[in-house]
């Protein structure tokens, strides 16, 4: 992943900015139901914490600069290098203005889009918080973990992510699990008829919290999109739940650690047992369903 250099180009998936029709209604879901800590309200964007970072989720209105995924880049030198690579591959890359950086709580950034049109922010020095994370309810969230993205052009999107230094860990059909650190994946690309965020995943302490949240959602009459389940390839336990506007947030735990050694990506068939070892199925979200 480091391509021979001492440090990687990118370090983490550090935030999701989501555009919704009713930010206040969605905010209640994110804080009161899902269990993140609401921290700020700036330029019409409501910010939430899930760990030591200042914010990992923002909710805003559907506007031109309303939605994006933040990828933390090692430093400005790496940012320049990635920018060059992406331009070479024909992707439009724009330097973020001061106000765009402020809205993102970062020091510098390149704003770009993958081939499907998913807006990706390549950011340097995202803001941390000096105070520890203290959520509204005991959902057991430990950290923002990663994202699932819809792709309409998986080959070109894969080229985009490889330019950032990501590697494919495994395939399920044409779903690609992308590794950017020692963990099995932080980004997963799901073939779809449209672009956009499929889910944002938050790591919880253990299986206990995945199950507790599952019963909590049932009692709160929140739709469970899929789970509790376990991804066959990554061994990750998951629970996908749906908030307003079809926003899917996930509790996850137990993902396999692969380490830094090169590893051949494995191909799993696109069947229900590849998507969930336990037997859970998604009825309404086609990207999460086996088409067999």
């Amino acid at each position: 992943m480091n391509n021979g250099s001492a440090t990687p180009l990118i370090a983490s998936v550090c935030y999701v900015r989501v555009a919704v029709s009713e930010p206040n209604a969605s905010a209640r879901f994110v804080s009161d139901i899902f269990g993140l800590q609401r921290v700020a309200d700036q330029d019409g964007e409501i910010a939430f914490r899930s760990d030591s970072r200042f914010r990992t989720v923002s909710l805003g209105r559907d506007s031109a600069d309303g939605a994006s995924i933040g990828i933390e880049v090692w430093d400005d030198k790496a940012l320049e290098q990635i920018g060059g690579r992406l331009r070479e591959l024909g992707f439009a890359v724009k330097e973020a203005t001061t106000s765009e950086c402020q809205r993102r709580y970062v020091q510098s950034a390149l704003l770009t889009e993958d081939a499907s049109g998913n807006r990706i922010d390549l950011v340097v020095r995202p803001t941390q918080s000096g105070r520890r994370y203290f959520p509204t309810r005991d959902a057991g969230i430990v950290a923002f973990h990663g994202v699932g993205l819809r792709t309409t052009d998986s080959n070109r999107d894969l080229a985009f992510w490889k330019a950032l230094g990501a590697e494919v860990s495994d395939w399920v059909g044409d779903i690609a699990y992308l590794r950017i650190d020692g963990l099995h994946h932080r980004v997963a690309l799901y073939p779809s008829t449209r672009n956009g965020l499929l889910y944002a995943a938050f790591e919880v302490e253990a299986l206990d919290q995945v199950m507790q949240n599952s019963y909590f959602m049932q009692e709160s009459q929140i739709k469970i999109v899929q789970g509790p389940g376990r991804e066959a390839a990554s061994r990750q336990i998951f629970l996908h739940v749906e908030g307003p506007d079809g926003l899917i947030f996930s509790y996850v735990n137990g993902m396999a650690e692969l380490g830094e050694k090169p590893r051949l990506a494995r191909q799993f068939p696109l069947t229900a047992t590849s998507l969930c070892d336990w037997g859970s199925e998604s009825k309404d979200v086609p990207e999460l369903s086996a088409r067999d």
């Binding site: 206990d208 599952s214 336990w278």
Partner: protein
Amino acid sequence: MIQLKDVSYVRLGSPDLESAEHFATACLGLQIAGRGKKDLYLRSDARAHTLCYSEGDPRDQTVGFEVGDEASLQDAASTLEQLGHAVHAGSAQEAERRKVKAFIGFRDPTGNHVELVVRPERSGQRYFASRDAGITGFSHIGLNSTDPRRDERFWTQVCNARVSDRIGDIPLMRVNAIHHTIALVRAPKAGIQHINHQVETSDDVLRSYYFLNERRVPIVFGPGRHPTSGARFLYFKGPDGMVFEYSVGVDEVEDEATHRPRQFGFEPTSFCMWGSKPAGMALPKS
């Protein structure tokens, strides 16, 4: 004092052995060990059998406990008789049907039919399940009690059981290092309240949840986790209304000498820390 070493088997009467066999193999996942004239023997671990369905009344439910040797068995018989329990000395033929060397039968104060057995048979052939439920062995039973305080005295003072934890008045009792082998459950009459088999991992508990749901086996409690023993569990209903449990991760009591039973309040979170609620299975009343 009667020294129970472990729970050995359960014998259940059933009017329909064919349905019982289908459930035990296709759903529960046990291995058929053999058949007698009116008996179906099932394995769950290295023992020759741990569950036997016998043609008859489903109210006929017996639990067998292993004791050390025939001398202990004789001592147990006289202890029980002195206390006024009628003791049945098993005949050779009856012992053969139970695959044990010798046994006695009696009723506990609630009226539960209990057998004490010597040298239950093991099998040289390893256990090979009929479906991949991950079962590692028969482990404990829930036993009905019309008076849990009285029955706790019987199991802990006449026998060697020790209370590991209590939920309200309900004692969870061990006879070895495993957190509990007998769980008393308040009920209006005698009977076995549930039969527990251990499985390998929590994955097996969740897999079986989806598997049994798809086959329309009534799930009566779980998937969940007991805060007492720490076990992840799933309860479901088999033939004749008998409840079976899969669980994994039952704690062992580390220090026999210093262990003090913890008191849990009589409330849903004392039975499940994940938030599952029993459905179609009465929680014992305090």
